[in-house]
């Protein structure tokens, strides 16, 4: 291992160090505030480290890892999301009697898992990264264990994640048996040489089951609503963004290496899954009264849209990254609002609690409205160009069926997003004002970050060109 | 000079010259099995008698002195009695597991014998991961104990088994770490290599203070692993009747009892092999005359002598220290022994890398 390779891994080492630093801070009995601030600066240090190593890319760390433009993009997305999730966590956990400190260790370790996924090009690092992510998530989901839902959600996630890990390993074993290698490119070479066999397809199928579980694609989505509801709001935001970005990144790399788009059967299966996601996600969300469950179904639909970009092959990667960026910003601001409204006893997940939010707190209502409009894909918000790019790529690749379903289901989706927005502006019920006991600085910080997110959404919606050019520039680095 | 190696070699040569290889292998296996069973019987008799005599000595009384000269045949008579007794199976017990458990404990004890070198060239199976094999197989006996406790359908048995299991699983860690520290010094897991590396001196002396610490931790850990006082909570008479073997009687009880003493012998043999050079005679630097005199003592005597010294040490503990509470037991391991042995392992690695040992 050379110095340059070590240098390329610097951001990941800083990320791992962040967890250790938090452990040490806990050992020296520092307060939640100190840990929060240190964590924030450590994440900033990760960003700095990424900036520092950008010129050395692409760099291979054989045999398991490769740090290239794709990895840098996805890691950047992940770190950005974690920064926001970390900020949201302070207010959420400070209000609760449970000790919030260990939360940050698990948060950073889960982030490391997702980041490892983005740079892995070998089954071993794929599996270890995925496990690091899931094992940390088990505890994160059940973190507020005094609530019934939390333990239920944690156990559900644990059982299903363990089962899908078994599927994943079995799939890997079958592919290894067929091709004699566990490295993505070597598998791709073996397949182009000898053609795909039944066992190989079987292995791909089993791996798709595991990835489908993590991304909550349709036949494997049953956990999503319960886990989204039971987990603490910042953790839900984490699951919806970081965990899915990491898994999507490794899926993209794997598919590129083994030329999944040239395999007719795999394309058919993924097309069916994408259509099912779009339809099921939007239809299930229609009558949902619980915001967190609704966002779960909506994220199922969104990953259906994302699969359209995925199925377009290399051309769709840029659109997919842009979509993920817009989706993460949107979801993070939506979950930011949920976090701010949550009380000591329960999360603000009932739709009725949002009635007349505009009259009580116009800023929050404005941010939430922009986020929902962006989720629905209304012009002038980030969701619109994101969906537009995906549609363009899909049409360019002549995937008419997917394009039509995308448009139709987006229209269905509009209904329930607008339903929430109309609730925000309805006349408010008489409710006691919430007392604020925390230091105003943190409220100011959270509000500022949410406002920044809102402006980002608008900026991306109006001037998407700058970002999409940068994304394409990064994607060339490989 | 008298040596067991020549005997084993001649037997092997004779077997291979008379029979075909497969047959010879089978015969060898049979001989080894007979020897191990014989050794078990003898060890059981000797160790139980030794325990009672040592205990009596510590408490200023005579101990067994009626059957045979100076009570030597007392344990033989006890064995006879146990064999004659009826083996009861309690109502509501899981019959199959209840009957299987003592055999599992016994078989695990037998399997551990494989890599132990009793004398120069006198070893059943010199597997290349010898000491790891020992800790692997010794962890299996926990399963037998848990089985016995659960299958008896008795709360004392279950509690005893649980205590015993918790104890063995936790103390296995620090025992394993102190074993590994010797492996680091010797640079091999193979038992014969570890013994050969102590040609110029035993690791206990050559490894400076860290090796001494590892030895002390090892002795404490194995005392706990064999459920001996002061760590005998699993069968604390005043609290749990007799722990996991409360419901056992007759020959099945005898098997548990025997396995317990065999385990003491085995851990002491491992300790003697790792820290005290196994069958290697005591050599001191350049004192050639002294070393030559030491070489005249047969290697098997060296091994047995060292092992029995350690056994005596462990028996001594029983009458010296009061029994610990469960929480004290666990916090001793997790809060003191484990951190110390991890740090110690680091020190020993440093010593091994820098070559600071003698």
């Amino acid at each position: 291992m050379t110095n340059l390779q070590l240098l390329a891994l610097l951001p990941f080492m800083v990320l791992a160090t962040a967890a250790v630093v938090v452990i040490l801070l806990i050992a020296f009995k520092q307060s939640h505030t100190v840990i929060q601030v240190t964590g924030f600066f450590m994440m900033c240090a990760v960003v700095l480290a990424m900036w520092f190593v950008r010129d050395t890319l692409p760099r291979e760390v054989p045999p398991l890892l490769v740090v290239d433009g794709l990895a840098a993009l996805f890691t950047g997305l992940i770190i950005f999301s974690v920064l926001v999730v970390g900020l949201l966590s302070y207010i959420y956990f400070e209000e609760r009697e449970e000790n919030p400190k260990e939360y940050y260790i698990l948060l950073f370790l889960a982030t490391l898992g997702a980041a490892v996924l983005t740079i892995s090009r070998h089954f071993i690092s794929f599996f270890i990264g995925l496990e690091l992510l899931s094992v940390s998530l088990y505890a994160l989901i059940a973190y507020l264990r005094n609530r019934n839902n939390a333990i239920e959600a944690g156990v559900k996630y644990l059982m299903l994640a363990a089962l899908t890990s078994a599927f994943l390993l079995f799939g890997m074993a079958l592919i290894y048996m067929e091709t004699g290698s566990m490295e993505f490119t070597a598998i791709g070479n073996a397949i182009t040489k000898s053609g795909t066999s039944v066992l190989f397809l079987m292995g791909i199928g089993l791996i798709v089951v595991a990835i489908g579980f993590k991304l909550a694609l349709v036949p494997f989505h049953l956990w999503a609503a319960d886990v989204y509801q039971g987990a603490p709001a910042p953790v839900t935001a984490f699951i919806a963004t970081v965990s899915k970005i990491g898994v999507f990144a490794v899926f993209v790399r794997f598919a590129q290496a083994i030329h999944l788009h040239e395999n007719a059967l795999a394309v058919t299966v993924l097309t069916v899954i994408a259509i099912a996601c779009m339809i099921a996600g939007n239809v299930l969300a229609l009558m949902q009264q619980n915001i967190k469950r609704l966002l779960a179904y909506s994220s199922i639909a969104h990953f259906g849209y994302l699969l359209v970009a995925f199925l377009s092959g290399d051309a769709g990667v840029g659109a997919g990254v842009f979509y993920l960026l817009a989706y993460s910003i949107t979801l993070l601001s939506a979950f930011g609002i949920i976090t701010l409204l949550s009380t000591r006893r329960k999360d603000a997940d009932e739709l009725s609690g949002y009635r007349g939010l505009f009259w009580r707190n116009p800023l929050m209502a404005a941010i939430f409205t922009v986020a929902l409009l962006s989720l629905a894909g209304i012009p002038l918000t980030a969701g619109f160009p994101a969906k537009f790019f995906i549609l363009t790529v899909g049409v360019q690749q002549h995937m008419w069926l997917l394009a039509v379903v995308l448009v139709l289901t987006s229209v269905i989706g509009l209904y329930y997003y607008l339903r929430i927005i109309s609730t925000l502006f309805a006349s408010p019920p008489l409710s006691p004002a919430k007392e604020k006991s925390l230091h105003p600085l943190f409220y100011a910080a959270t509000y500022t970050s949410l406002v920044v997110l809102m402006f980002l959404l608008a900026w991306l919606g109006i001037f998407p060109g700058f970002i999409i050019d940068n994304v394409q520039e990064f994607l060339v680095i490989r | 000079m008298f040596s067991l190696e020549t005997i084993t070699n001649s037997i092997q040569q004779w077997l291979y010259s008379t029979f075909n290889p497969t047959m010879a292998l089978i015969l060898e296996c049979a001989i080894v099995m007979l020897l191990v069973i014989g050794l078990f019987a003898v060890l059981g008799l000797v160790l139980v008698l030794m325990e009672r005599k040592v205990a009596a000595r510590m408490q200023i009384r005579l101990g067994p002195n009626r059957v045979g000269p100076r009570g030597m045949l007392q344990t033989a008579a006890d064995t006879l009695k146990l064999m004659m007794k009826e083996g009861l199976t309690p109502d509501g017990a899981d019959k199959f597991l209840f009957n299987l458990a003592p055999f599992i404990v016994m078989i695990a004890a037998m399997l551990i014998m494989a890599p132990i070198a009793f004398a120069k060239g006198f070893q059943i199976w010199d597997i290349n991961i010898g000491v790891l094999y020992v800790s692997a197989v010794s962890s299996v006996s926990v399963i037998g104990i848990l089985m016995a406790g659960w299958a008896s359908n008795n709360k004392y048995s279950l509690l005893g088994a649980m205590r015993s299991g918790a104890q063995i699983v936790s103390y296995e860690l620090s025992a394993g770490l102190s074993i590994i520290s010797i492996v680091v010094l010797a640079g091999s897991l193979q038992v014969s290599d570890i013994i050969a590396s102590q040609q110029t001196g035993w690791w206990l002396f050559r490894g400076h203070i860290p090796a001494l610490i590892a030895f002390v931790i090892f002795i404490i850990a194995v005392t706990a692993e064999t459920n001996r006082a002061p760590f005998d909570l699993a069968e604390a008479e005043s609290e749990l009747t007799a722990g996991f073997h409360t419901e056992y009687s007759g020959m099945r009880f005898a098997l548990f009892f025997l396995a317990e003493y065999i385990n003491i012998f085995i851990v002491c043999a491992i300790g003697a092999t790792l820290f005290l050079g196994g069958w290697m005679p005591l050599h001191i630097g350049n004192w050639d005359d002294f070393n030559r005199i030491m070489d005249y003592i047969p290697s098997s005597l060296w091994f047995l002598g060292k092992t029995f010294c350690l056994i005596f040490l462990i028996m001594w503990f029983r009458w010296t220290f009061p029994r610990l509470r469960v929480d004290q037991l666990l916090s001793l391991e997790w809060k003191y022994l484990l951190p110390i042995s991890m740090f110690n392992l680091l020190l020993i690695t440093l010593i091994a890398i820098m070559g600071w040992h003698f």
């Binding site: 291992m1 891994l9 967890a19 760390v61 054989p62 045999p63 398991l64 260990e102 939360y103 260790i105 698990l106 370790l109 889960a110 490391l112 898992g113 490892v116 071993i124 690092s125 270890i128 990264g129 496990e131 690091l132 094992v135 940390s136 088990y138 505890a139 059940a142 973190y143 264990r145 944690g154 048996m177 067929e178 066999s197 039944v198 066992l199 397809l201 079987m202 | 899981d94 597991l97 597997i127 290349n128 991961i129 790891l132 692997a136 197989v137 962890s139 299996v140 926990v142 399963i143 848990l146 089985m147 406790g149 659960w150 279950l158 088994a161 649980m162 299991g165 699983v169 296995e172 897991l189």
Partner: protein
């Protein structure tokens, strides 16, 4: 048929048979004990492939530690047939159908597969020996090795967080 083939078939039969018994035995303690036997059979396979270290570590970690903890929990929970929750009959049927479909697909795929040309290395591979394994882990695979240690850290923190008090 030489001795290692005989051993291979015997161990495979043992592993499969006891794995089936894990699933179908009614008493959870018996299930765990069958699982232990499965692990022993798998360790035997490792040793057949000249990976003694992996085989023994498999025994120490799984049979010696993890399964003992399983036994602990299950024995103390005192599960009986009466405490077993009654599941929906249709759910059971759906499970059987889904599992049967998966089995069918797997068997069909394996029947189609060519396995003639693929031979496992018996007693010749030496990567399982501890010296080679250590070298591989600390040179080529040092990054994933460190990451897996972080994985254990996260599991430990998670267990402490969920389990304390």
């Amino acid at each position: 048929m030489d001795i290692s083939q005989v051993l291979f078939y015997a161990l495979s039969a043992m592993a499969l048979g006891s794995a089936i018994m894990v699933v179908i035995s009614r008493n959870p303690v018996h299930s765990v004990l069958w699982l232990i036997i499965t692990f022993f059979a798998i360790s035997g396979h490792y040793i057949l492939m000249n990976a003694q270290f992996l085989g023994i570590v498999n025994l120490i970690v799984y049979a010696g530690a993890i399964m003992v903890l399983f036994l602990f929990v299950i024995m103390l929970m005192n599960l009986n047939a009466e405490t077993e929750p009654q599941k929906n009959k249709w759910l059971k049927l759906a499970g059987v159908v889904a599992g049967g479909c998966l089995l069918l697909v797997l068997v069909a795929a394996l029947k189609q597969a060519e396995v003639k040309g693929k031979v496992a290395m018996l007693e010749t591979g030496d990567i399982g020996l501890i010296r080679n394994l250590g070298k591989a882990l600390f040179t080529d695979f040092v990054v994933p090795f460190e990451i897996s240690s972080i994985l254990f850290l996260s599991a430990m923190v998670g267990a402490v967080v969920i389990g304390k008090k």
